[in-house]
């Protein structure tokens, strides 16, 4: 039931901190008791005095970020990181994946494994491990990949999920594409599922949906944390038989990663609005769900500027492969142009949280036209629910997709710089 989070590098540690903040704030007293206790058990270890200590290991090759995160947590008054749960060095990885993977990782393997083991032993039952990191830098990407490898060796039967943050397209790090490609190539063989957030997308959400004029990395990280929280907080799944699922990572992976060649998952959450507006908004299910479905179909990343012209391909155009009818495909028939940019899914997971979840109409997500022909919608589509409102939104819906949505960023990444 518990998830141990491994925070790697500056990004991993900053986002991780926001995640614990979100889930702690979400499951406060006053919420339904079982939701609260499952959430707490999942993310925190409770000391005898009742203090919440995050089930997390903080790893970085320089000390400043970890120090900052730990102080911030301690100052929150609601939860802390364990005193013995961090590892840092002084010299950094120099944005060099090879430094992280070939030098720092192996050099400190024993110490890092010990830290993770300590956290795992404190769990009554381990439901899985989540490694959080960026792919652009040196530590998150390089050490993160190495640590994932160690986790896989040490816990061969556990579910391991990687949460990756992809950098802005116009650069934060000049060698980011090298670091990203090397990371993804290795993780594919190690991870059970890879959850991806793109800085550009999240930045757009901050600008256009949250109306933030001055967007800081803190703002970006809070959006990512909100989306992750929406996925990882307790939910009732098809296998959990009326109780909150004890196996969130496993069920996530089995719902979505139906084929070992396709592990990259993207996510969208609706609604997202400035927190000041939440109190004044009314929520109902049909509108947001309709938007979410079209966002999936047209590969729009947010609830604004959705392209409603993109339609599902007609029955005659459906094909066996993932790419037929996708990019550049779709011959003949009036809907060909629209079908050419339709985002085909392998699998989708819809998570509904809040009031009246049981009355929400989700049939639109089971349309076979959304998916490939070799998986029936019954197997390709999963639905989780929780009657508890998440993070102040009376109703919210999150869609985690295994689809073509990440093709374009992947292409961009591997094209620059050209390695001949």
């Amino acid at each position: 039931m518990s998830v141990v989070t491994v925070q790697l590098g500056q990004c991993g540690n900053q986002v991780g901190h926001e995640l614990f903040d979100v889930v702690c704030g979400d499951a406060h007293d006053g919420q339904r008791r079982s939701y609260c206790s499952v959430s707490r058990e999942r993310f925190f270890h409770q000391t005898e005095r009742g203090d919440l200590v995050a089930r997390a290991v903080l790893i970085d090759m320089e000390p400043k970020v970890i120090k900052h995160s730990m102080n911030k947590a301690a100052n929150s008054g609601r939860w802390t990181y364990g005193d013995d749960a961090h590892f840092s060095q002084k010299q950094g990885s120099g944005n060099n994946w090879a430094n992280g993977f070939c030098v720092h990782g192996p050099r400190h393997e024993a110490a890092l494994e010990e830290l993770v083991r300590r956290q795992v032993e404190r769990c009554d039952r381990l439901s899985g491990l989540m490694a959080m990191m960026s792919v652009a830098g040196g530590t998150g990407s390089g050490v993160g990949t190495y640590v994932t490898q160690c986790l896989r060796d040490t816990f061969p039967k556990s579910f391991i999920v990687n949460q990756l943050t992809w950098p802005y397209g116009t650069g934060e790090v000049i060698v980011q594409n090298y670091n990203s490609v090397l990371t993804l190539a290795h993780l594919y063989g190690l991870s059970d599922a890879i959850l991806v957030h793109e800085n550009d997308t999240v930045h757009g959400i901050c600008a256009r949906l949250l109306n933030l004029k001055h967007i800081s990395f803190g703002d970006v990280n809070r959006v990512i944390a909100h989306q992750l929280g929406a996925v990882l907080q307790p939910a009732l799944t098809t296998d959990s038989h009326g109780l909150y699922s004890r196996n969130p990572l496993g069920e996530l992976a089995s719902a979505l990663v139906c084929h070992p060649e396709y592990k990259l998952l993207s996510m969208s959450t609706v609604p997202q609005m400035p927190s000041a507006s939440i109190a004044y908004s009314t929520f109902s299910w049909p509108g947001p769900l309709r938007h979410l479905r079209q966002m999936l179909v047209s590969n729009s990343k947010m609830e604004e500027g959705i392209d409603w012209q993109v339609r599902l391909p007609a029955a005659s155009e459906r094909s066996r492969s993932l790419t037929g009818g996708g990019r550049g495909g779709g011959r003949g028939g009036g809907g060909a142009a629209a079908a050419a940019i339709f985002n085909r899914s392998l699998a989708n997971l819809l998570i509904l949280r809040g009031k009246d979840v049981y009355s929400a109409e989700t049939g639109g997500f089971e349309d076979p036209a959304l998916f490939t022909s070799w998986l029936s919608p019954r197997d390709a589509f999963s639905l989780w629910k929780s009657p508890v409102p998440f993070n102040k939104y009376e109703k919210s819906a999150t869609l985690v997709s295994n689809s073509q949505a990440l093709l374009r960023p992947l292409d961009d990444m591997s094209l620059h710089p050209p390695v001949r």
């Binding site: 320089e62 060099n96 620059h416 050209p418």
Partner: protein
């Protein structure tokens, strides 16, 4: 980090640097606790302790000692430092001096003193390195035109590579202006260039003339300028105010600029921020091929206006300024050449959205090399420099440095053709004519490499000879 200051220029700049560094940390560190940030530049020593006195983090500041080695072959400058208010910051084990100087002769610095003092230099560097928990980088500060800084300085550089091959070496080199009064400065500079190309990880060239221009601009603003627009005294990058030093000395204003450059480069390694940038990330991102490691620096803002009712210059103006020639510390023109890479190190109250907006705005007018169209290296440090709410240091690997090198080559050739002053060098033990021809060849081929990349500008040339390395 370890600083080695060599020669008059190096030590004078260094002196301003340590003064301003103390000022900056005093501004930020209100608790008097010896913290991580301080420890990157300073040791904390309690001289009452018998074991050498080193104090770890978290304790009160006792005596701060700079992590530095000062080298000069005449005593004047170093003695002055030791008699001034910064004397406490250095102890005798960190110094290496001689009496008669190098006579503006690279060979004397590099060969003669280089051999005589080799052991001592290595010894002092070793001791200094041992005091560091984790040695991330060496900074070398020197001038190119003289004898000690240029000659002995580059000898120290190759010793650093020999003794500490894995530690990054960043060199700040002050290049002579054409009107430099040292006649042999072209010889010294070209001989030093070969060493820099071969042994440095990256070089930040600074031209005296650019520094002079900036100083004049600021003086004009603060003296003449528009009525009512006065500059905040401690905020200009030429000001040493707030430091320990009293009256200003002649080169102080120019040296303060270089000192500020060093403070800004190291800011993200010392203070926290939302997107940290370490020193070893600089070479990693900005140096695409080993010898092409010359980075053009620009610093903004140059000053803050004192009158708070005048609206502070828009943040975006700061980014535009970084790409204007007025703020460069080198007199080349990057906009007509090719960017191989560019780094923006931002300090203060600036968010990632500001950074993105400005990159998108400026990017279309900046010519980038075909295989790095989108690549920028960015850093956000929360702590601004003293007297400013924000600042920006841009480091550009741009082919325009080629023009600086071409100038140098021309001045060298003028002298060398006539063999003028050559005998002073050839008389030095270990120095031969081949040193000169090798040095000029090295410079010529460096210029050629930049030339080749320039030729790819605007075209999609698949195979400039350089790029075949990727195969």
């Amino acid at each position: 980090m370890r600083h080695s200051k060599v020669g008059q220029c190096g030590n004078q700049v260094g002196c301003r640097f340590w003064d301003l560094a103390l000022r900056e940390h005093a501004h930020v560190n209100k608790t008097g606790v010896y913290d991580d940030a301080l420890s990157s530049f300073f040791r904390n020593v309690d001289s009452r302790k018998s074991d050498g006195g080193a104090c770890g983090f978290g304790g009160r500041i006792q005596h701060l000692k700079a992590r530095a080695v000062l080298v000069d072959m005449e005593e004047g400058v170093v003695n002055e430092i030791l008699q001034g208010p910064l004397s406490e910051v250095f102890d005798s084990t960190q110094l290496l001096t001689d009496v008669s100087g190098s006579g503006n002769n690279w060979a004397v610095g590099h060969m003669s003193y280089g051999s005589v003092y080799r052991e001592q230099i290595v010894d002092k560097l070793r001791k200094a390195a041992e005091h560091c928990d984790c040695l991330q980088c060496f900074f070398l500060i020197h001038s190119m035109g003289g004898g000690t800084g240029s000659g002995l300085g580059t000898r120290v550089l190759s010793l650093l590579e020999e003794e500490f091959p894995e530690v990054c070496r960043i060199v700040t080199s002050v290049y002579p202006s054409p009107e430099d009064d040292v006649i042999t400065s072209p010889y010294n500079s070209v001989l030093a260039m070969k060493e820099l190309s071969e042994h440095a990880d990256c070089v930040i060239p600074v031209e005296n003339q650019s520094l002079v221009d900036i100083v004049n601009k600021i003086k004009h603003m603060s003296d003449g300028g528009k009525p009512g627009l006065t500059i905040r005294k401690d905020s200009s990058i030429i000001s040493g105010q707030g430091g320990l030093r009293g009256a200003e000395k002649p080169f102080d204003a120019m040296n303060n600029i270089v000192a500020n450059l060093l403070l800004n480069i190291t800011s993200s390694a010392r203070f926290e921020g939302s997107l940290n940038m370490d020193l070893n990330e600089i070479a990693m991102n900005l140096v695409p091929f080993p010898r092409l490691h010359y980075l053009v620096p620009s610093l903004t803002p140059l000053y803050t206006l004192a009158d708070v009712s005048v609206p502070t210059r828009r943040l975006d103006q700061m980014f535009s300024d970084a790409f204007s020639k007025d703020h460069q510390l080198l007199r080349a023109n990057p906009k007509h050449s090719l960017y191989l890479a560019c780094a923006l190190m931002v300090r203060g109250n600036v968010q990632v959205s500001d950074l993105r907006r400005n990159i998108e705005r400026l990017r279309p007018s900046l010519p980038f090399v075909s295989w790095n169209q989108e690549g920028w290296k960015t850093g956000l440090c929360s702590v601004p420099p003293v007297g400013h709410s924000h600042s920006l240091l841009a480091l550009a690997n741009n082919t325009c440095v080629k023009s600086t090198f071409l100038d140098l080559k021309e001045r060298f050739t003028k002298l060398y053709r006539k063999k003028a002053h050559l005998h002073h060098y050839l008389h030095v033990e270990g120095m031969e004519q081949s040193c000169f021809s090798e040095a000029i060849t090295s410079l010529s081929s460096l210029i050629e490499e930049y030339h080749h990349l320039d030729a790819t500008k605007g075209k999609l040339i698949p195979d400039a000879p350089r790029l075949s390395i990727a195969r």
